[in-house]
């Protein structure tokens, strides 16, 4: 166990090192320059461009820039080139905005896909199963931005509530507390439902196939033969064993924390992580892009690590 943890931590650190190199190279070798040091930019005189280049260490060779950047990152001193704010602070603020979307989206995904998946496994091949299957293909295939507009039209026409942004503009003055609360809920609902659609479709299919796998086992036949009522067979004998792989999936939702959906956040003018990353890409704000990339790589690696560990804990058959 200890040796497994040690080995995989070392392996993940090496992977992270290469990820940092690759992302740094992609950003810096790609054609074009940040607008502050672009000689074509009429806003800056050559002296200013030179000063910026010194400030950003852009006059140094690449490997020195790499060392400078990651030294700054680990000491927490990285600043955005666009507004000179601390990158980590910026990311933290945006992360707090994205967090409600992520939490509500995850709750919707996990609470809906399990009943749907289990039910369609129990009624395999019947009308319910077939329509759930078709519906989940539909949800996987629908482009998020199109679905967003369909939902916006529907909600705005039916319920006459505003949905764009995090809250209605200027609502702070004089509105009652329940009103503000409902307003926030309405604004939160659509983006998080959209964020959950793909997840519901994929996860419910996965639940269904896991349930089918278990329902075909011998011990389920034994349970039926004993004359147990169907609820007990499905939910006590089958479901408990089918749940095993899903415990490990808790680790894999970790990267979603920082991902945020660029498209959905820009449609709903939601000031979250995805939007920030998108704006940083447009402004060629290298420190922000690289930091977001680095943090998300850390989360991916941590997620796989946690899911490996959970496997070890949950399944006594696995020995390393």
């Amino acid at each position: 166990m200890i040796s497994f943890i040690g080995r995989s931590v070392i392996q993940k650190i090496i992977t992270l090192f290469f990820v940092s190199i690759v992302s740094f190279l992609i950003i810096h070798i790609a054609p074009g320059k940040p607008s502050q040091v672009d000689p074509m930019n009429p806003k800056f005189t050559p002296e200013m461009v030179e000063r910026f280049q010194k400030e950003f260490h852009l006059d140094k060779p690449l490997h020195v820039q790499y060392l400078y950047f990651y030294k700054d990152l680990f000491t927490g001193e990285t600043v955005s080139w666009k507004d000179n704010q601390s990158v980590l602070k910026k990311i933290w603020e945006r992360f707090l905005n994205s967090l409600p979307l992520f939490i509500v989206g995850t709750i919707i995904t996990w609470t809906l896909s399990f009943p749907i998946g289990i039910r369609s496994a129990i009624f395999r091949g019947q009308f319910y199963d077939r329509s759930a299957t078709f519906l989940s293909y539909l949800l996987i295939s629908i482009p998020g931005f199109f679905f967003a507009y369909v939902l916006i039209i529907f909600v705005v026409n039916q319920f006459h509530v505003p949905v764009i942004g995090m809250e209605t503009f200027g609502i702070g003055d004089g509105a009652s507390l329940p009103y503000i609360f409902m307003d926030r809920i309405w604004h939160l609902l659509l983006p998080s439902v959209l964020g959950a659609t793909g997840g519901i479709a994929v996860l419910s299919r996965y639940v269904r196939s896991q349930m089918l796998e278990v329902e075909g086992q011998d011990y389920i036949r034994t349970a039926w033969a004993k004359g147990l009522p169907p609820e007990q067979v499905h939910y006590k004998h089958a479901l408990r064993n089918a749940l095993l792989p899903f415990v490990t999936m808790f680790g894999l939702i970790l990267p979603g924390l920082i991902g945020g959906s660029v498209i959905i956040e820009s449609i709903f003018s939601w000031p979250g992580m995805g939007r920030m990353a998108y704006e940083a890409i447009l402004a060629r704000d290298y420190p922000v892009i690289l930091t977001v990339n680095f943090v998300s790589a850390v989360l991916v690696l941590a997620g796989t690590f946690i899911s490996d560990l959970l496997y070890l804990v949950v399944d006594p058959r696995i020995r390393l």
Partner: protein, 390 residues
């Protein structure tokens, strides 16, 4: 079919060799036909393919039948099936069909013509991007699965490092020292061949043995590269690269292809690892077939099934990604229409002209859905394990 079988039964003898009655393809088709959704997917896919090709011919060239770039400001935001106002149009501005099948957009351009033009973009992006990723996947997965147990030695790593740093120095304008490093590599290779020919089995000196040590197996190396690639958030990575590169549809295809080969690599590797141990491969090996023949003639056809399925679903994902990118304003430069940017332009008129949102949106939905259904149907048919259960 029925008659033939009866005839067969009449002359039935035990000595007749019992070859399978159907070829592989017939068997595949028989199973595939039972899946109605998959048939629907295949049908829509063929329809889409024809539309895209017909659309390419009708909307390109110097004098296209349906001009997607023709601006008629007096005819803007006409609903679908609207008749054009003939008095206000010049002769060449009248739409070919006599009416606007899918309406017009905010500049009075014919949405039907633009959709046809965009179909070709979606089709090529899907196929080229997936083609690139499958090729890389087969190559990397094949090497990892077939030659995976071989090791890369320390001197290989050193030579590669020297080569890379030489190339980097040349690009950074230190031409002389870079060229010296670049020349060092062939020199080492020649020295290596020469020393091998000369010394035969003579033991090497101790310091040279360090260079002959095994550093890492090929399999580990390739799988670590896959792990590294999987660490990047894919849409964010694609967005970054596409935003930094000059806008062009080819860049999008290449970038999507280069960021989605990991799945195919894993599938091919897994298949190769199990196929390599099977008897028919051993038989072919004893017959003296070369590696190349074993891989491409005997192992690859058996390893293709999961790759084919993931490629079909990959096409759907690539079309969605491209639509998302052109929705955000990257990709094909503006006068050229794609389904994503028709929708993105139309979103400003969502309450006045909903067809500008719904037509491209539903088109993307149907095409992506057809690929997904077709892919799932393929998976059911090609995977014998799943077949038995259902």
């Amino acid at each position: 079919m029925n008659k033939k079988e009866k005839g067969f039964n009449k002359n039935f003898q035990l000595e007749t060799p019992l070859a399978p009655k159907r070829t592989r393809l017939q068997e595949f088709w028989r199973l595939f036909r039972q899946n109605r959704l998959a048939i629907l997917g295949l049908f829509i896919f063929i329809l889409f393919f024809c539309c895209a090709i017909v659309g390419l011919f009708m909307t390109s060239g110097p004098d296209p039948l349906l001009d997607p770039a023709m601006i008629r400001l007096q005819e803007k935001l006409r609903p679908p099936l609207a008749k054009p106002n003939l008095d206000s149009l010049r002769r060449e501005e009248i739409p070919y069909l006599g009416f606007y099948l899918m309406g017009t957009d905010d500049l009075g351009r014919d949405v039907f013509a633009r959709m046809l033009q965009g179909a070709w973009v979606s089709l090529t992006v899907g196929f080229v991007a997936v083609g690139i990723s499958v090729l890389i996947g087969i190559f990397m997965g094949g090497i990892a699965g077939y030659f995976g147990q071989h090791h890369i030695r320390v001197d290989h790593v050193l030579v590669t490092l020297v080569l890379i740093s030489g190339a980097a120095l040349v690009t950074a304008n230190f031409i002389r020292s870079g060229a010296a490093l670049l020349c060092l590599t062939p020199a080492y290779i020649f020295y290596f061949i020469w020393s091998q020919n000369r010394s035969g089995k003579k033991t090497l000196p101790l310091w040279a043995k360090v260079f002959r040590k095994n550093a890492v197996s090929i399999d580990t190396l390739i799988m670590r590269i896959v792990d590294i690639m999987l660490c990047f958030p894919s849409f964010f990575l694609i967005l970054t690269v596409v935003a930094l590169l000059p806008a062009s549809i080819y860049n999008i295809m290449i970038v999507i292809g280069l960021t989605s080969w990991m799945g195919a690599t894993r599938f091919v590797r897994a298949e190769f690892l199990s196929l390599r141990e099977q008897d028919f491969v051993a038989a072919v090996k004893t017959l003296g077939a070369g590696n190349f023949r074993i891989i491409f003639r005997h192992m690859m056809p058996n390893a293709m099934a999961p790759v084919l399925v993931s490629a079909t679903i990959g096409i759907a994902t690539a079309i969605l990604t491209e639509a998302g990118l052109s929705f955000l304003g990257f990709g094909v430069p503006p006068p050229h229409a794609t389904w994503g940017n028709i929708l993105s332009d139309g979103k400003n008129f969502i309450f006045d002209a909903p067809w500008l949102t719904f037509i491209p949106g539903i088109a993307i939905l149907i095409v992506v859905l057809s690929f997904n259904l077709f892919g799932e149907g393929l998976r059911d048919v090609l995977n014998p394990k799943l077949r038995e259960r259902h």
